[in-house]
Amino acid sequence: MEAISHAGACVGILATDGVVLAAEKRVTSKLLEPEMRSDKMFQVDDHIACAVAGITADANILVNWIRRAAQQYTYNYQEPEPVELLVRDLCDLKQGYTQYGGLRPFGVSFLYAGWDRRHNFQLYHSDPSGNYAGWKATAIGNNNQAAQSLLKQEYKEEMDMEAACKLALQVIGKTMDSTNVQPEKLEFCTLTLEDGKPVYKELSNEEVEAIINSVELKKE
């Protein structure tokens, strides 16, 4: 839990037409090869994505697990797995590590963004204990209390994706160490519906820049 509270912040917001996940990239160096795997955002299946905060090595194991579990479900049932079921199964695994065997728990918190036919768009949060809950908007990682209180004030029920992205940016900006919000330090991903099918998108730096500008313009 300690490790997670020091990890890069992640914010998730549920909108009427999608879910947005935003994360602060902790490690930024000119020497880092950009387009290689992110350590914050992961696509799990066509209809599910997640953001992580905590020990990266642990996160990789768990993301691999849920990716496999989602495909296993589709293999058996020929249908995409309901989001809550996937979250719950992972949480059962995490819980096992708190009760049996003398192993240490996984030091990762997750934000899951998903869509299924029954419940439409959903946002879930889980922690190392294996507890999980559904959220309209939530944050994990560094400064998440500040982020949560800002979300409580600013979140509105009928937000669309555009408004949700802007709010996510504002909140992430608040939690970040530096005062200057730059696209290179952020990761944004969205889950929306196109032609009735869920679409996962990682926003490019230009698109993030556009959101930053739209938020700044509003302030002026």
């Binding site: 293999y75 058996n76 049932y77 020929q78 249908e79 309901p82 809550e84 079921l85 719950r88 036919r117 029954r118």
Partner: protein, 226 residues
């Protein structure tokens, strides 16, 4: 866990598959309903054990599954499917779609096929899905082949009945038309099939749920004339 099987075992199993063919199992889907019919005799060799065996399992309130083949396997596998569907319902708060249930069933059968305990059961699984207001019918055989079909039959019954259904079936038939077609098919079986099938159990699944359909007796049923 898997174990090597002797050649003898495999030969016996191949021959035993022949036993699947004697049960009469027919189904068709029409406008908002699926009809499944199965004969009600349970026979071993030359003896008829009982004449009132219900081979159409009610998986839940929107799905039925007619089963033919080894009686023990029918009961075991049928119950296994039914209980797992129930478990899914309690775990997730909603029932599986017909397609998902059929896929899971087929998958279980496939896993068991190359293991010590395969199931020799043929199935016709029909179900209604409220979220899309549609019915579907799945043909699954004991080798875990599966397909969604408008009408189907397992075993020898197919030889006698599919030709008739090819001729008389129309998509979106009303329930009355479907029942008439089913009666015609059953009449053919009772006329031409070597094995005596005096009584049939017929069930329907539609928007209103699952229920039994009473057909007229063999003597009273009038087949549509060609």
């Amino acid at each position: 866990c898997r174990q090597e099987r002797s050649r003898e075992e495999l030969c016996v199993e191949g021959a035993a598959a022949h036993r699947n063919t004697m049960d009469c199992l027919i189904a068709l889907r029409g406008d908002g309903y699926v009809l499944v019919a199965a004969d009600t005799s349970f026979a071993r060799s030359i003896l008829v054990m009982k004449q009132d065996e219900d081979k159409i399992l009610e998986l839940d309130d929107t799905k039925i599954m007619g089963m033919s083949g080894e009686q023990g396997d029918r009961e075991q596998f049928g119950d296994y499917v039914k209980r797992n569907l129930a478990l899914t319902y309690y775990r997730t708060g909603e029932a599986l779609s017909t397609k998902a249930a059929a896929s899971w069933t087929r998958n279980s059968l496939a896993k068991a096929l190359r293991s010590r305990g395969s199931y020799q059961v043929n199935m016709l699984l029909g179900g209604y899905d409220a979220d899309v207001d549609k019915v579907s019918l799945y043909f699954i055989d004991y080798l875990a082949a599966m397909h969604e079909v408008p009408y189907a039959a397992h075993g020898y019954a197919g030889f006698l009945v599919l030709g008739l259904m090819d001729r008389l079936y129309k998509p979106d038939m009303s329930l009355d038309e479907g029942i008439a077609l089913m009666q015609a098919a059953i009449k053919q079986l009772q006329l031409r099939f070597l094995v005596n099938c005096p009584t049939f159990m017929v069930k329907v699944v539609d928007r209103a749920g699952v229920r039994e359909v009473q057909l007229g007796t063999a003597a009273a049923a009038d087949a549509p004339q060609q």
